[in-house]
Symmetry: C2
Subunit: 317 residues, 2 copies
């Protein structure tokens, strides 16, 4: 009987899930709305009913070994989701405690970027690695750190918040109320802000002079860069510089074998990898130079979060 794990990725709008085997084959996946049931118990009942229906509908018998959950502000130690700004449940949500009332299975919860790190370790490019980092470049910047083959959760379960290291003192405003965080520069929203800064600062023509801030997307910036738009090219250079400089400091902390870049901005390929690598190397201590690989994640964007969540089960069991 094939052994499988259930991976669940909780997003602000949808909760995605998948039934995944040890080799990373996803037998079936689906989703339920996260926001439809504001009451946690009703939401969990709906989620269970949907998953169970899919498991029952599989063409082969499977043995479900556990459930892995990735959630914004997920706390691994406590199995809680804490003050997640984009979810309708408020405060500290005892997610695992409540979900255990529905499933008598091993259950593990962590945040999305940590789940991605474990996905990379179990199914992706980090299978043979004991020390690596994953950077998720979405609207914000998330990260998962692996040291000695184990995820770094820290004392409180919240370690690995590289999006919130300060790269510019008194720099750009961040949603957290702080200023100059890495994610205000190196993320999909960060590169938009850089484009607008460049439009203000330079007199260079650009296709973005007719685009509003709200219309602009990171994808539009990479498309324009490939067409040779100078503002777009400069924005990638600057984004890679901030990211590379910050990663040099991160290397001084944990000296990883590789740093994986994942998510929308990472799909821009050389546009983001080249300046990131260059500026990281320029800022590394000599003993670290030419050692640390900057690699694209081998997880597919479409269901990486679900895969990562399912990988938690194989990692823990």
């Amino acid at each position: 009987m094939r052994e499988v794990a259930i991976g669940i990725d909780i997003g602000g709008t949808f909760t995605k899930y998948g039934i995944v085997d040890r080799e990373g084959n996803c037998l079936v996946d689906g989703s339920v709305p996260t926001t439809k049931e504001r009451e946690l118990k009703k939401y969990l009942a709906m989620l269970k009913a949907t998953i169970d229906r899919d498991v029952a509908g599989l063409s082969e018998q499977v043995a479900v070994k556990g459930i892995g959950i990735g959630a914004p502000n997920g706390n691994y130690y406590r199995g809680t989701i804490e003050f997640a700004p984009n979810l309708s449940w408020e405060g500290v949500v005892p997610f695992v405690e409540e979900f255990r009332k529905f499933y008598a299975l091993p259950m593990f919860l962590t945040n999305d970027a940590n789940a991605a790190a474990i996905g990379e370790m179990i199914y992706g490019g980090a299978k043979e690695m004991k020390n690596f980092i994953i950077i998720t470049l979405g609207t914000g910047l998330g990260s998962g750190l692996v040291v000695n083959g184990e995820l770094v959760y820290g004392h409180d379960g919240f370690a690995g918040e590289l999006g919130h290291v300060t790269v510019v003192r008194n720099g750009r405003m961040c949603a957290t109320g702080r200023r100059g965080s890495l994610e205000t520069y190196a993320s999909a929203s960060g590169i938009k802000r850089t484009v607008f800064e460049l439009l203000a600062d330079s007199i260079e023509d650009s296709e973005f002079r007719d685009i509003t801030f709200n219309e602009l997307t990171a994808k539009m910036i990479s498309d324009a860069a490939l067409r040779g738009d100078k503002i777009a090219l400069e924005a990638f250079e600057i984004t890679g510089r901030y990211l590379g400089e910050a990663l040099a400091d991160t290397v001084a902390h944990t000296s990883p074998e590789a740093i994986f870049l994942f998510g929308g901005l990472a799909n821009a390929g050389d546009l983001i990898f080249e300046p990131t690598k260059k500026h990281m190397e320029n800022n590394l201590l000599k003993i670290f130079k030419n050692k640390v690989k900057i690699l694209p994640s081998e997880l597919k964007d479409t269901n990486a979060a679900v895969m990562g969540a399912s990988a938690l089960v194989w990692k823990e069991l």
Copy 2:
């Protein structure tokens, strides 16, 4: 029969050693000159002869369980000392490989700050901690990171170089050829540089207006601060600010329970602890605020490096 470890701390001038039991009692200690024998084998023979004489002279029989070595640029994985600027042996020194020819005992080598971290974990204030950091504030700034109860060595054995994170882009020159490293601001030499910057910048009177750069010591700065010298007080505030800001970024990486400060500058007490704590807290992400303790190391300065080196043995066995 009492079980003991031999702890060895290799410095530029002297190599100190001690015979230490599991509880951290040092039964005997001593030293040999590091530089007298430039040839490694002769130095090791001298070191062994001296240690063996001390072991033989103990008033009780002991069982030596292993040897722990702390050395500048020590590489844990390879047992090597690599390109240490203050030692007369050049290049990559296969220290453990050569020393094994003299002792058939388990032997472990790491850098001085990592040894201090393990000393804190085995004998000091971190006995119950799984996630903590030690910062050694000497002429430079060293660090040892502990995650999930294990020292962070990283992929290459050189992790934990927090003295070389960049705190000011294009800031002060560092001996490594880089600029703006934390240790050019937060260390005994860093605070001297800050005093001289303040003497240049301000018109405040100070007892240091009659002192040369080479005469000035960190101890003189803390003594002057206690007497109310405004330049000295401001220098501590600035030093704590740089250190606190950098530690906030470090917390975002590994979220430790505590950060221990060790070494000369840490002996200045509140003068350095208060601004460090304040500026760290001001820069922390909300989820990390009021959680991370900043504590004085419980290792005694006089033989902390030897104690730390001996602790390596108990940690590994």
